[in-house]
Point group: D3
């Protein structure tokens, strides 16, 4: 800054400032990969701003921007576990480039981007920020093709099965169908947790049964307990697959807690339950990638509670991974 002016003026707020010193905010902790060259990122984050593939109109494409803006509200100290996880290194990869009208090309770009990312950061944890749920298919395909001789399982937190047929192309209603019928993931290696209510048509239930997708309702989850269910699911998966992909469709949450998700419903999960699930999942290094999808920040309430809840969930997942990595 200009001589003498520094005392009274500071850089404007749209500029990315990394504060040094004792306390840092999440915005200072997550570093763009083009600013700090390193290959050993513990986790890398990829924005996937695509939602014109959503069945109903959605501005989930605006979420990566809203998500990054929310970083300024959070610190790197996780009170519940009394741990500062700033030493967990997280790089921001930027956003996948999207075409305005060619949706298939968008999906290709996602797949190629994840391919390059895996090559560049072979040991990182991959976090993708949607966008709508259609992005999960190319992301998982990319991970499969990069791990040719390995098998992949999916833990899906969702109110819906996402097993629609492909007659209308790949949408936010089809990713699991695409992966199962495309032989990328076996149906029996998919665990859908959080199903409830009146939102899955009989034909989708049939498809789930046909493909042997595992369905765990929210009621079952509550009855048996989160820690127990996650333990069982991950035990089973560990015996069957080499890699687990965790996909979080935020419509798994109750509409009261997640008004900003177009498909959220009454009767859904509470945020504290979601946070507990993500903490439990952090115990398993076999989980190699994760996404959060279907948050439309334009639809969120004025205080942006859905955007903030997603950020909280994201941090819980990373903090847990850090804690369990440190324990070893």
């Amino acid at each position: 800054m200009i001589e003498g002016l520094n005392e009274y003026v500071q850089k404007s707020s749209t500029v990315w400032i990394r504060e040094d010193g004792k306390d840092i905010k999440v915005k200072d902790w997550i570093i763009p990969v083009w600013e700090e060259q390193r290959e050993d990122w513990d986790a890398v984050i990829l924005g996937v701003p695509l939602s014109r593939s959503s069945i109903s109109a959605s501005a989930a494409s605006e979420f990566p921007k809203a998500f990054r803006k929310a970083w300024e509200l959070f610190t790197t100290y996780y009170f519940d576990e009394h741990v500062d996880f700033r030493d967990y290194k997280v790089g921001d990869l930027g956003d996948v480039k999207m075409h305005y009208t060619n949706i298939l090309q968008c999906h290709d770009n996602i797949e190629h981007a994840m391919q390059h990312i895996q090559h560049n950061y072979p040991n990182s944890f991959y976090v993708s920020i949607g966008g709508d749920h259609s992005i999960t298919a190319p992301l998982v395909r990319s991970i499969q093709s990069n791990n040719e001789n390995k098998s992949i399982g999916i833990v899906q937190l969702d109110t819906h099965l996402d097993l629609r047929d492909l007659s209308q192309g790949p949408t936010n209603g089809t990713p699991i169908r695409q992966l199962v019928e495309g032989n990328v993931v076996k149906g029996e290696n998919v665990y859908n947790i959080g199903l409830h209510g009146f939102y899955n048509a009989p034909s989708l239930i049939e498809a789930a049964h046909k493909h042997k997708v595992n369905m765990i309702s929210l009621k079952q989850l509550r009855k048996k307990g989160i820690a127990s269910v996650i333990h069982d699911v991950m035990e089973q998966l560990s015996n069957k697959v080499d890699i687990v992909y965790l996909t979080v469709d935020m419509d798994v949450l109750d509409i009261t807690y997640a008004p900003g998700v177009p498909a959220s419903t009454p009767g859904g999960m509470r945020t504290d339950e979601l946070f507990d699930i993500l903490f439990e999942m952090g115990k398993y290094p076999i989980v190699r990638a994760m996404d959060f999808v279907c948050i439309d920040p334009n639809r969120d309430n004025q205080v942006q509670s859905t955007v903030k809840a997603t950020t909280y969930a994201f941090l819980t997942a990373l903090a847990s991974r850090y804690i369990h990595k440190m324990k070893k």
Copy 2:
């Protein structure tokens, strides 16, 4: 449609379309009684768009319209119990005609309409969709007069006793007082569940004691458990009455879960608790009629969570009845 055009154009969305095929939405499942003649409807639904009888200003009269519109968001498959209840036959009776300024005539219309409905569909389950809580008095009166030698009990889910005196005529604050003092229902056969907080004045408590209305607070419900409380209440009622009427004032819900109910308050019930109660109630065929009242869709939040929660509650009640009917 016009020759050649059908391939590219479909009927506009305001028109009632019944889709055939495997998956149906609730909007396709509930059939206007003037479109399909049958006497054996399992349930019939009556819109009761009256709210100028509400003490405070309310647009609950707009709820039947909002409720029907929400039907397109729900399927007939109830995941929690793994059952498709489409074979439960539900007819839509339309709306009671209302007068703009003569509120007593509105109440008479409601009573007469229910009289005709009972004659036409003597074995159906009667579901009335308010409107405000004043509609419950004529509805119960009508059922009593149609069942001269039988006694009626009421299960009331409500934050309020609705035992106000009649000095201001029949409002949403008076239905239970009207029924008890009108000797339609004995106070001891009324079970009010969900009371809490600072919303019932001492004079109403006195009236409840005088008439021996049974009061079960939300705290008691939570302490004892929903299944247990409902079991006890229904056991007692089964020994005392021939018919049970279930009235759901949606202000029983916490304001966070039901912002669209003008009188909803902090400290109220969660939606999952309401759904559980309605599922339990579905076990008892003695329950012959049900209403949902006091939802103002104009006051609801942008994502219409209260409208959706009421629809969810309604479907839970019907699905449960279907399940327990099938079990026999």
Copy 3:
């Protein structure tokens, strides 16, 4: 309805009811073409629910539904001109079928649908209800291909030139570029009215100059007067083309008057000015088709002022056509 019940109950409100008698609402005046067979509709209305082609996220695809719902608020009597235009016959064609992910097929469907419509109703006035502005290109193409030896001009009410290049495919930013470069319409036969402010990049201005698109700013319109400008534009067009297509991008309106249009801006047109323009345009039978695009009802304010303003504009255009047809 059921015997005896009719006195107290009426059909529910989601059902399409055509009231007979002296006063009719617009909802009763516009008749689905599958309900009343006739070839001599004065005007036919086509819903075009496509907005995944929009550059920024938009739910303009929801507008045809919101538009039809608003019909219940308007009568067929136009007070300003003291005329009841119910004898102007208007048919509702329904909505163009859309594919969820193949945007080009959506555009093809629009083009084919309009082709069939012109064949079936060769003398009608064609009104298309968007959707986003990308729909104008296939609509105009279809009209051109149906009128091989005739030339078409465009009157465009818009804050933007919509002359973006096609590198991202056909979006709501490209329709005029597509039509001009596709030799469907000559640039000199395009009159863009309402331009202002800081919303058109220099490259688009260059493109406009290159193609000789006529640009009339909002300031010029106000200075010269609406009647005078429209008269001049239509005089010029009448000398150059056989058919005029009128496209109304509602973002021409000031953001205060049209909060429901994602791209509306400060400094735009007032609604009374828009209504005056549409009244003037009604004098010219050479105008054979019209569209309204880019209204996102989910983004509109709580009182839906943008949806209502569009309906008002639409009715003004039709009433004016009726008046001027009657004058002959």
Copy 4:
């Protein structure tokens, strides 16, 4: 207050405090009539919190409260005319008592209240604050019955004619019909200003013609000029009647300026036009009473622009009366 405490603590804000000193707010200027006994109030204000008589659901009954609350935002100095009108004495009469369910009794109470008010304050200007438009009929009836040998005319600012038939009782759609058919006011002595658009059904236009109600459209008003139109109307009325009643249905305003009026529409009046009309009307002492109706504060936007605009209009009317009284 308590000794020593006064220095640090002031009375809480819900308590009515009249500040003395140079500058006063409108809340300090308008004085409850039970606090200051005087018979020579220049104007008296009566709250009329009735809206269950509204055809569509409305909380206009909440407006008197919202209106009084807005008084704290305004001073008694009218900048446009450089005048402090605090010497114009205005008394607050409180609110008419309403019955919850007997709407006819509510109308009777209004009529009786105005009767007593005229007896007590025979020379004041009567300002009634609705409530919906149904209140105008009993108010004008009361004035007629108190002025037996005099004739009354009405200036009505409204988008609607309010000439509906009485088959549904007295609603906000019927007051002019009631007064004209009840021989309280001759149709030819009613001047409706501000009509426009598509909101009056042909049968109402017929009724207006039959009763010779004068209709001045918004377009005519703008073309001829406000001062000129008001001058002509008042000249005509002065030759025909002894007393003029001014009724302002705030739905005369454009929906952009008055989102809080359930029936406001696009194409309506701007607030500055309304203020000019009210200023002009202040020149005529023959205007003996005025009302403002149909403002629903619950429906207003977050910044309460409709409530504030009504208060501004009210003050303009009173300031103008003061100015023109002082000029004599």
Copy 5:
């Protein structure tokens, strides 16, 4: 009121009316101390409308007004415990006078006001209604200086530690730091309950450890149970201090339950948990003062759920004190 008018007209609603008779609302139960002279108020309430000391922009200064307005929605009967607590005498002291720009003087005024209040009402329970959390420091200082030889402990319900350093002066982030470093309260006598998530920077955790502030996370509270935790905390405090001050930063609540608190977050407490805590706290007469801070009514949702929840919490605390006082 005027002769004859009383039958039809009642005092307007902005005027403070104390209704007599059987049922009273909280607004009638809490009495301004300048209206009823007594020294034995069980509790006195002080408005503290200061929020320009808030780090982020806040209109918490508007809360005392919104809080008093909400009193009309509550009765004095607490259903959960079946008790009418109207005999608990509560006086409204009005609001502390604030300076527009001198924040330190505002804090001085708060301290002096509380000093005078303690002198005048030495045996009352002191309830302060913020305002932001900066008000707690002068309030506790004032209580300490009035109880020279006694020691004070604090129970703090909060998502944050409020232990920021004073480099930016006394803000809503510093009160506990001020009190601990100012030797007003020992760190070990502060019990912060409800901490969770990612909202306390490491430097604040360090400060807490250094000063031995007791930190009880929301997870610990839930695991151990509210009654048990409060019992333990109060047992410990009873052995260490003479007076306990209870400060409730409403940001301890989940953002879903308290959208009107600028710093509320996901992962926070539910309202029913807060109410339970306050009920438990009512058992301990050693608690001599309480405050509620950081509620911004302008930021609250349309149905004002945060304002209502705070009022519910406040009443629960007072009702509990009454019940436990009566038990003795």
Copy 6:
């Protein structure tokens, strides 16, 4: 970016990207002064995020951030005048550092910052972005002290006089009083344009008269015409002073056009009028500095129309200066 990845991934959106090429957005045109060293900025922009000095609670301190974010919506081509003003060089100085609780120090920081800025950029046009109106006093003081032998005049667009006394310190109601009584600017050299309605108390009018402040009402402005009034004002000022400071309190706008300004009112200016005034002002190089104050983005409507209107006004002012500079 990483090898191979660039094809599919772009930098994330929170990062400041300056696009090169033909079309630039305002965000690319305005350059942080710490990124491009130059002394000949045509204009420099200073964020002044202070609003705890506002009389009523305001988040105007958040406006600089919202303002910069809006830059991405505007290009550098001004259609109304057919000019691309990208060659007008504009530097972003960042934001003045503020203290959380010492408001006087905040005002000192503003004054010192502007002092340094004038020294560094002696020939630039100074644009300050508030914050509330209290910032104008230190800004003008700083300009005066830097131009010791020159006299300053003020053109103030405002609904209020801002001549309150200093008993409550320097607030958004006092800047003109401070400057006039501090002998920084003579009252006769202040021209307040846009006054109207009931918002200035008599004592302020008296102060204006005493200090000979020039008051031009909105009605006078409209009657005489904007170009004519601005011409007259600037002619007079040119004869009396050396430097003119233009201060735009956005509350001069009608509440319909500027809902995001806490003090905006009905009866105010339209945005097109404001834009015309700013265009006229651009003709006078004697205007050396400008500010925009009192916009609270948290209070703005969902589509941020007030934030966008301020940006439009700002660009109009700069474009006009560029045009008139080029003409010479």
